[in-house]
């Protein structure tokens, strides 16, 4: 764990949209717990509004979204937009799941910090969050 950080990083793991497959999200939640993160898991079928409202109340450092349905271009940029509207400018927003390469650049341009495709290890994701999540006093 990063020496400059004395408190655990808080991560919201959410499943936006209508696909009903949350195995990956659950495996990630558990993996991040084992890496020392505090993970708030919100379950299936969330709207961008619900995700951002939960992230605001929980004051998380990271929002991680898993999406397999193909609706990522409709849903993920909206989460960034709502977060910024609420003044959550310093929250790291990342995504994972089945997302075509052609869309990754567009998502990054829309403010998604990173997109983790199939085969990414939990260690890689944990490392990325540790490196890029905001620092707290």
């Amino acid at each position: 764990m990063d020496d400059s950080r004395s408190t655990p990083i808080r991560v919201l793991i959410a499943k936006p949209g209508l696909d009903g497959h949350d195995r990956g999200a659950k495996v990630l939640a558990r993996g991040l717990r084992d890496e020392g993160f505090e993970v708030i898991y919100t379950g299936l079928r969330q709207t961008p509004e619900m995700i951002v409202d939960a992230a605001e109340q929980e004051d998380v450092d990271v929002i991680g979204m898993s999406i397999l349905s193909g609706a990522h271009m409709a849903l993920l940029p909206r989460v960034v937009e709502l977060s910024r509207e609420r003044g959550m400018d310093d929250v790291l927003i990342a995504a994972g799941g089945i997302i075509p390469d052609a869309d990754v650049a567009k998502l990054k341009a829309a403010g998604i910090a990173e997109v983790f495709g199939p085969g990414t290890s939990i260690g890689q994701i944990a490392g990325y969050f540790r490196e890029h999540a905001r620092r707290r006093g």
Binding site: S6, T7, P8, A29, R30, L32, R33, D34, E35, G36, F37, E38, V39, I40, Y41, T42, G43, Q46, T47, E49, M50, I51, D53, A54, E56, Q57, E58, D59, R86, G87, M88, R136, G137
Partner: protein, 308 residues
């Protein structure tokens, strides 16, 4: 410090992000937090503090969701702190209490915060308490504290709440004797949840019979026992009424004094541990106890600066 005051002002004015960040400062025991406490407590608006506890899997989260729905119907603004255990090995935690609450996520009159216990001795009770004070300053009423009823710290949180609801399930059966001395003792209201399962009414009858004769509640009458089915909402309105009725009892002179006593005891223990831990001879003194040269009580006296 001025930052924290700014957050408190924002939280009291209804800014949700300010409240969220104030709660983070409380969780992290941020610098300057101690100095904020007088203002934090003075900003309290008198919200009813309700503890919800009971064994894992008893349906607490579902019941909290059902209670929230009923309170919202009655025009109440509901604040919730849900405490989950941290892993003692990695310090991480998974908090899933929101799964059942997401229907309220966008409701501006419901505020829910998940807190990991972070395993620090006594620390969770202190942080939970301050978190409840922050929700009170923000005008939420009632304020629910949901804990996993698995140990001493939960009993402690229950003691600090004004009204403690212990949630059991019909299948508890023979476990009744085992839990009698712990959670049941602190219950102001006992709920047998999953009331649609066979045996729920029988379990309620057993509890009633047992508690009418049980010791450990000197000077207190046995708690009302209610049956709910949180998934369908059955019995939830009655439970809300019972919690409301208990609010009056909880604010009687004697009850207020007893609870304040627990709060001060808690704060004393916290202060004493913090002060002693800064003593330069901490390690050496602890080692003397390990080497059996010193008894723990004398060691504690020395660390507190009392010569013994």
């Amino acid at each position: 410090m001025s930052d924290l005051r700014e957050l408190l002002r924002g939280a009291a004015a209804g800014e949700r992000l300010a409240l969220a960040r104030l709660l983070t400062a409380i969780e992290n025991d941020a610098p300057g937090l101690r100095d904020l406490l007088p203002a934090l407590f003075a900003a309290g608006k008198g919200g009813h503090l309700v503890g919800i506890t009971g064994p894992p899997g008893g349906g607490k989260s579902t019941l909290v969701n059902a209670l929230t729905e009923e309170w919202r119907r009655r025009g109440k603004r509901v604040g919730i702190v849900a405490v989950d255990p941290s892993s003692p090995y990695t310090g991480g935690a998974i908090m899933g209490d929101r799964i059942r609450m997401m229907g309220h996520a966008a409701d501006q009159d419901v505020f829910m915060r998940s807190m990991a216990s972070r395993g620090e001795l006594g620390g969770i009770a202190a942080a939970t308490w301050m978190a409840a004070a922050a929700l009170d300053a923000a005008g939420y009423d009632p304020i629910l504290i949901e804990t996993v009823g698995a140990g001493q710290s939960e009993v402690e949180i229950a003691r600090l709440a004004e009204t403690t609801v212990v949630v059991e399930v019909p299948e508890m059966g023979d476990e009744v004797q085992a839990i009698k001395a712990g959670l049941l003792e602190v219950a102001d209201l006992l709920v047998v949840n999953k009331g649609d399962r066979p045996g729920a009414d029988l379990a309620a009858r057993h509890l009633r019979a047992m508690l009418s004769t049980a010791g450990g509640r000197v000077g207190r009458k046995p708690p009302p026992i209610l049956v709910t089915t949180a998934t369908s909402g059955e019995g939830v309105a009655t439970l809300v009424d019972a919690i409301g009725a208990h609010r009056e009892d909880a604010r009687g002179t004697e009850a207020l004094h007893r609870r304040a006593g627990h709060q001060v005891q808690r704060a004393l223990a916290d202060l004493a541990v913090r002060r002693a831990a800064q003593h330069p001879a901490w390690d050496a003194t602890v080692q003397s106890v390990a080497d059996r040269e010193l008894d723990p009580f004398t060691a504690a006296q020395r660390l507190l600066g009392e010569e013994a």
